[in-house]
């Protein structure tokens, strides 16, 4: 445990050192394209208000799209996983629509929907929907038949079967689908922002690269990395809390 932490710190320090040596100390790299750590740190402070606003705007789009996906993909996935006939009916559609890379929808939705906000929320929703839906269906089908029988012998209602048996039973699959959705949603968010936004983290990077302000581009990329890392960490914590019953056995 201790060793791991030390190793990780060493890696970070070495990269930082190399960066520092190549830029600030010896000026090996072109300062126009490769800002020094000091410069980036200075920009992070200088632009902190812009970053705060960008973050708020990005998180708004991201959570709107994700919540829409959660609210539709999970109930639909539970139903489709549970009803054999429904599953057989929608399977070809899923196979056709599921693999389409959602990025390709961006220009179309921008044309289709009245505002940029709506179209990016929609694209994030589509991207997050399929992994969640497909994994919810698979999760329901992976629930032990014995547990379903056990629930039936207790005389559970249909609603209770879906919410208290199939939903928690499928949760391990749902959560792993959810992490794919989260990553995909973030990719789509930044892509959409680079194409058409006037705010947001993706917009920040795109905007300043148009001005060839590469120090700010690097600062923006760094902020995006940190945001994704934070989101994934929170997601993992929530997941392991929800799956705390899986400790052993």
């Amino acid at each position: 445990m201790m060793q791991k932490t030390i190793d990780r710190l060493l890696i970070f320090l070495s990269i930082f050192l190399i960066w520092e040596l190549c830029t600030h100390t010896f000026s090996i790299l072109d300062p126009f394209l490769f800002p020094s750590p000091e410069k980036v740190a200075q920009l992070l402070v200088e632009d902190s208000e812009v970053f705060r606003k960008s973050f708020t705007s990005s998180i708004y789009l991201l959570t709107s799209g994700l919540i829409l996906a959660l609210l539709t993909a999970i109930p639909l996935g539970l139903l489709v996983g549970w009803q054999r006939r429904l599953h057989q009916a929608v399977e070809p559609l899923t196979n056709l629509l599921g693999p389409i890379p959602p990025i390709v929808y961006i220009p179309y939705t921008i044309a289709l929907l009245p505002t940029f906000t709506l179209s990016s929320i929609f694209v994030i929703f589509i991207g997050a929907f399929w992994p969640l839906f497909i994994n919810t269906v698979a999760g329901v089908q992976a629930v032990e038949k014995g547990l379903i029988d056990s629930a039936r012998t207790l005389g559970v209602s249909r609603w209770t079967m879906l919410t208290r048996v199939l939903l928690p039973g499928a949760l391990p699959h749902i959560l792993s689908g959810g992490s794919i959705s989260l990553v995909l949603a973030f990719i789509l968010l930044t892509a959409a922002e680079m194409i058409g936004a006037t705010s947001g983290l993706g917009w920040y990077v795109k905007y300043f690269s148009d001005f060839a302000d590469y120090p700010r581009v690097v600062a923006g990329i760094l902020v995006i990395g940190i945001v994704v890392l934070l989101l994934m960490t929170v997601y993992r914590q929530v997941s392991s809390y929800l799956l705390r019953w899986r400790t052993s056995g």
Partner: protein, 266 residues
Amino acid sequence: MEALLQLEAVSLAYGNSASNRLVLSDVTVDVKEGEFITVVGPSGCGKSSTIGLLAGLLTPTSGTIRLQGTPITGPGPDRAVVFQDYSLFPWMTALDNIHFALQQVRKATREEALQYLHLVGLSEAKEKYPGELSGGMRQRVAIARAFAVDAPVYLMDEPFGAVDAKNRIYLQDLLLRLWKTGEHSKTIFLVTHDIDEALYLGDRIIIFTPSPGRIRRIVEVPFTRPRTRAYLVHDPAYIQLRNEILSLLQDDLIGELELVEGGSGI
């Protein structure tokens, strides 16, 4: 008095009309109210399928099953089931498992559920998930859950099959105790692969033939209750009955082997 549970010429085949496999054939038996029936038979003879039929999870291909005169059409709160595994929901704590089962039949508080956990000596494990409990403890919770819903009929499919010998003895005695407590008399239908367990617990033992399962014989267990293990195993009548059942099961297995050998031309 009319039988509580009647199986009348019950047959069961798995599969569709094109290809089906007969699993149970012409099973007829009447179970009296308050009776403790144990079932033994070779593996694959249809014991679990019989439990499934009685639970209402399966429908007989032909024949009828009646509970208090009414044909069984599906699961119901009048029958509680304990499986070898998978009875408990792994995402609910021991207490929540019992509470959840109780709530399906009536309004119930967690305190009420806790009483049943107390009954099987597991109050301290209330906040534990099944994955954190030993096999024996899990079955105790499953039994507590079954008795919490206070059904007149208990269906048990090798409930102690995966439990070590010491815990099995404890659970058998626990089960006998619960069988006789409460206001209503309880009827138990328990599948086991352990002849001693069948003899120790049962009023009657149903012995199945190999697949497709038919009733080979129904044996009355004459020993008075409460039975004492140490005494029983030295009772010549017990030893004789045990050997009789064993040879019935063995004859069937040998018969099956001969069939296979005959088929291969030896």
